[in-house]
């Protein structure tokens, strides 16, 4: 994966750095965008018996801020602060599983919070303007701060039996590749439509509260790949000619 990314960067650098003559261009840009995210991998599985299941919803949202500086017209560096979030899904299977394992008449499972990833990425940006359109490609890497939801399980009418799978957080490295098209409304303002892919593998250490018995599904760590495919729409402001 890393070799492919490095080769991609070198190829893009050689292609874009040779395009066009030097002319005045906006050196800086900032932008905001948001849209739909699709989560892939074991995190979206909802199999109670499978410890790799994350019970995450495959559909989520993303929101991002970006900025950058162009060294040349076609090449520069960008920074992105973004977030992807996914609610829980398939919780009936989780609740039913606990009900069966504890052999009780009823279980109430309460989920709070979401799977969220807060991303802080930097890396090169390659830009190819054509008329009113600008085609951009970014390859970024950096820090991902990820958070899981919390589950509370109430067993029948036994208050002392209530247990928790607490929300967990983990910081890890992440990668993002993105492609976008900007449409210039003015010299400075453009609308952006983009797609990107974020890859990360956080290592969550999970605290279970009031789980003294060896009964039922009990996850103490969760270390799975989170791949998020995002489409987003936004607005960008470039300046500094």
């Amino acid at each position: 994966m890393k070799k492919n990314i490095i080769a991609f960067i070198v190829l893009l650098s050689s292609v874009f750095s040779s395009i066009g003559q030097e002319e005045t261009f906006n050196k800086y840009f900032i932008g905001i965008n948001g849209g739909y995210s699709a989560l892939l991998g074991n995190a979206i599985k909802g199999d109670y018996a499978d410890s790799s299941s994350g019970f995450a919803n495959s559909n989520g949202v993303n929101l991002g801020l970006e900025g950058g500086y162009f060294i040349k017209k076609n090449f520069g560096f960008a920074a992105v602060i973004s977030t992807n979030s996914f609610s829980s899904n398939g919780l009936q299977a989780l609740s039913d599983g606990f009900q069966e394992d504890f052999e009780v008449d009823s279980i109430t499972l309460t989920a709070s919070g979401k799977y969220s990833m807060y991303n802080f990425f930097v890396g090169p940006i390659f830009s190819y303007p054509k008329g009113k359109f600008i085609f951009n490609a970014k390859v970024l890497g950096g820090l991902v701060y990820a958070v899981t939801p919390e589950y509370k399980v109430d067993i029948e009418d036994q208050l002392e039996a209530t247990f928790y799978q607490r929300a967990a957080s983990a910081s890890t490295f992440g990668l993002q590749t993105s492609l976008s098209i900007n449409y210039l409304l003015t010299d400075n303002i453009s609308l952006k439509l983009g797609v990107d892919c974020i890859y990360t593998k956080p290592n969550f250490s999970i605290i279970n509260e009031n789980r003294d018995a060896n009964v039922g599904r009990k996850i103490t760590e969760y270390h799975q790949v989170f791949t998020s495919l995002n489409t987003n729409f936004g607005i960008s402001y470039s300046f500094g000619k």
């Binding site: 929101l63 979030s85 009936q92 609740s95 009780v104 009823s106 499972l109 036994q158 002392e160 009964v215």
Partner: protein, 198 residues
């Protein structure tokens, strides 16, 4: 000069506000409540059998049976076989068997209880003359991080005193609350035997 400083400060505050709103938007917590309701078609524990094996003479084996084939308690339990006769100064290996005799053939659910021993606890209570003349110790353990007795396998020790009393056997269902005592959870089965030490 003053207006330039004001503009820079205003920009920093605006950016900070934007970033703060950005993260607060994504940090919104929303609760989702899922309920798993009761499932129809339960098993019934209609019959409790106690097997007594004399440790010094394994051929000396006796059974006591408590039976209630009407799980909704329409009829009184059948206690005609719920009488235990033990010899003085003996040690008995005692096994508990639990059956559902509403089914044909009857279903032995003892192993199922044993497999689920991490949240089940079978215990005995003595009343009457046997209270101080009979010692009961469970010999089986569950697989909880701190192991507790399950209570399906026991050792009964009689002393030299002839006596009569009542033996109560209780199966407690203790999901996520088992602590080695009777207190937590609910009662699945509560049965009575007459016990004579001769």
């Amino acid at each position: 000069m003053k207006s330039k400083r004001k503009n820079r400060t205003y920009s920093k505050v605006s950016l900070a506000t934007l970033v703060g709103l950005f993260f607060s938007f994504t940090a919104c917590k929303k609760e989702e409540v899922i309920i798993s309701p009761p499932v129809a078609g339960s098993e019934f524990m209609t019959t409790i059998k106690l097997r007594f094996e004399n440790k010094s003479n394994p051929q000396d084996t006796t059974w006591a049976i408590w039976r209630d084939l009407t799980p909704d308690d329409q009829n009184t339990p059948d206690t005609s076989g719920a009488i235990i006769n033990l010899d003085i100064n003996k040690i008995y290996k005692v096994s508990v068997k639990i059956l559902d005799e509403t089914k044909s053939p009857s279903e032995d659910i003892t192993e199922e209880i044993r497999e689920k021993g991490n949240f089940h606890f079978f215990t005995f209570f003595k009343t009457g003359g046997i209270s101080s003349n009979l010692t009961i110790v469970a010999t089986d353990f569950d697989t909880n991080p701190t192991p507790f007795h399950i209570g399906l396998e026991n050792e009964f020790t009689t002393n030299g005193t002839i006596s009569t009393g009542r033996l109560e056997g209780v199966l407690r269902h203790q999901p996520n609350t088992k602590n080695g005592t009777y207190a937590p959870g609910n009662t699945d089965v509560d049965v009575f035997f007459t016990l004579n030490i001769k």
